[in-house]
C-alpha cells in the first residue's frame, strides 16, 4: 500500500488542525495500513509525552508578580539613564551627532567629518528631507564602510553596531 501522508499532514493530524475531510481521509488510510497505524500511534504517544513533560517543567518554573515587578524596576532603571525616559527614541540629528562624537577621537575630527560627508553622499541623503528605516540602514552601512577604510574592520564594526543599537525617531533632520 502506498504511504501518501506527508510529514506536514502527519503533524497537522496529531495537532488536530486538519480539516474534517482531510482528517477522515487519513483515518481511513490508517485503518487499512498497518505501517501507518504503527507510525500514528507512535507520533500520538510522543506528542502526548512531550506535551505532558514540558507542561510539568513549565509548572515547576512559576514566577510571582512581586518577582516580575522587581525585575521590571531593575530593567526600567537601566533604560532610564540613557536618556529615553521622556521620548524613548533618538532624533536623526542626535544620532548623527552621537556617531560623529564616537568616530572623532579614533579618526580625528576632520576625518570623522569627511567620513560623514562621504556616507551622506553615497546614501543620497539631503538635509531637510525625511528618512525611513531602510535609508537609515543604508546610511549606516555606508558610514561603517567609509570609516572602516580609514580605521580598519574593528572601527567599521563599532560604528555599525552603535548605529544599529539606536532607536531612531524617523523624520526630517
Amino acid at each position: 500500500m502506498e504511504h501518501w501522508i506527508s510529514p506536514q499532514q502527519w503533524l497537522d493530524f496529531v495537532d488536530r488542525t486538519l480539516t474534517p475531510s482531510e482528517e477522515a481521509r487519513i483515518t481511513a488510510h490508517v485503518s487499512q495500513c498497518k505501517d501507518c497505524e504503527v507510525l500514528m500511534c507512535g507520533l500520538m504517544d510522543w506528542h502526548r509525552l512531550l506535551t505532558q513533560e514540558t507542561q510539568l517543567l513549565r509548572h515547576s518554573l512559576v514566577y510571582l508578580d512581586v518577582e516580575i515587578d522587581r525585575l521590571l524596576d531593575h530593567t526600567l532603571n537601566r533604560i532610564r539613564p540613557v536618556g529615553m525616559k521622556s521620548h524613548w527614541t533618538w532624533s536623526v540629528l542626535d544620532a548623527l551627532v552621537l556617531l560623529r562624537c564616537l568616530m572623532a577621537p579614533i579618526s580625528g575630527p576632520s576625518a570623522a567629518r569627511a567620513v560623514m560627508a562621504v556616507a551622506f553622499d553615497r546614501s543620497g541623503m539631503t538635509p531637510g528631507r525625511c528618512l525611513n528605516h531602510d535609508q537609515w540602514s543604508q546610511f549606516l552601512s555606508n558610514l561603517s564602510e567609509a570609516f572602516g577604510s580609514i580605521c580598519g574592520l574593528e572601527g567599521a564594526r563599532l560604528i555599525g553596531h552603535a548605529g544599529r543599537s539606536l532607536s531612531i525617531d524617523y523624520g526630517c533632520y
Binding site: Q8, L39, W46, L49, E53, L57, L61, W88, Y170
Partner: protein, 174 residues
C-alpha cells in the same frame, strides 16, 4: 487586555506604561525559556533584562504585532548564545583537564528536566531546539521557522524526523 492587545499597544506607543505591561506578560515566558535551557536563576534574570532592553531599544523596527513573538524569542536565543560564547571564550585560560565536565561538554540546550534531557540526547541540537520551541514555549511552526531562520518545511520535517527517532528509541527499549 489580551496579550495581543498589549503587544499592539507597545508597538504603537512604546512608552513606560506600555513597556511595563508588556514586561509583565512576557518576562515569565522568557525566564522559563532560559531556565529550561540550563541557565541558573541569576543568569536567567540578567539575560531577561538584556532581552527587554533590546526589545525596548529596537521596538521601532517591528511593524507587525504578529511577528512580535518570534522576534522576542530570536532576541532571547541570541542573548543566550552570546552568553555561552562569552563563557566558552573564558575556558582557554584554564587547563583543559581542569575544566569541569558540565562546562566543557555543555550543549547549546542544557535541559532542566531529567526526563526530557534523557529523551533529547538521541536528537540533534537543531531537533532539540525545535521541539523545545514547539512544546515548551508553545510557538507555531511558522514562528519557529522565523526564530531559527530556516524554512517552514524544514521545521516540520525536523519535528517529524525527531519524533520518528524517539519512536525508534522507545521501541528499542521495549
Amino acid at each position: 487586555m489580551t496579550e495581543e492587545e498589549i503587544i499592539v499597544r507597545f508597538i504603537t506607543s512604546a512608552d513606560e506604561e506600555s513597556f511595563s505591561a508588556l514586561f509583565r506578560v512576557v518576562a515569565p515566558q522568557i525566564l522559563r525559556y532560559f531556565r529550561a535551557r540550563g541557565c541558573g536563576p541569576e543568569l536567567a534574570e540578567d539575560l531577561l533584562q538584556e532581552v527587554m532592553i533590546s526589545v525596548h531599544r529596537h521596538h521601532g523596527e517591528l511593524r507587525d504585532a504578529r511577528l512580535f513573538r518570534p522576534w522576542l524569542f530570536k532576541i532571547a536565543r541570541n542573548a543566550m548564545l552570546q552568553n555561552r560564547r562569552h563563557e566558552m571564550r573564558e575556558v582557554p585560560t584554564i587547563e583543559f583537564d581542569e575544566v569541569p565536565a558540565d562546562v566543557a561538554g555543555m550543549p547549546v540546550d542544557v535541559l532542566a528536566s531529567a526526563q526530557l534531557q534523557q529523551w533529547m540526547t538521541c536528537l540533534t541540537e537543531v531537533e532539540r531546539q525545535i521541539l523545545m520551541l514547539r512544546y515548551f514555549d508553545g510557538l507555531e511552526y511558522a514562528e519557529i521557522a522565523n526564530v531559527l531562520d530556516i524554512p517552514l518545511g524544514t521545521v516540520q520535517w525536523r519535528i517529524f524526523n525527531a519524533k520518528k527517532k524517539l519512536i525508534r528509541l522507545s521501541r528499542g527499549r521495549d
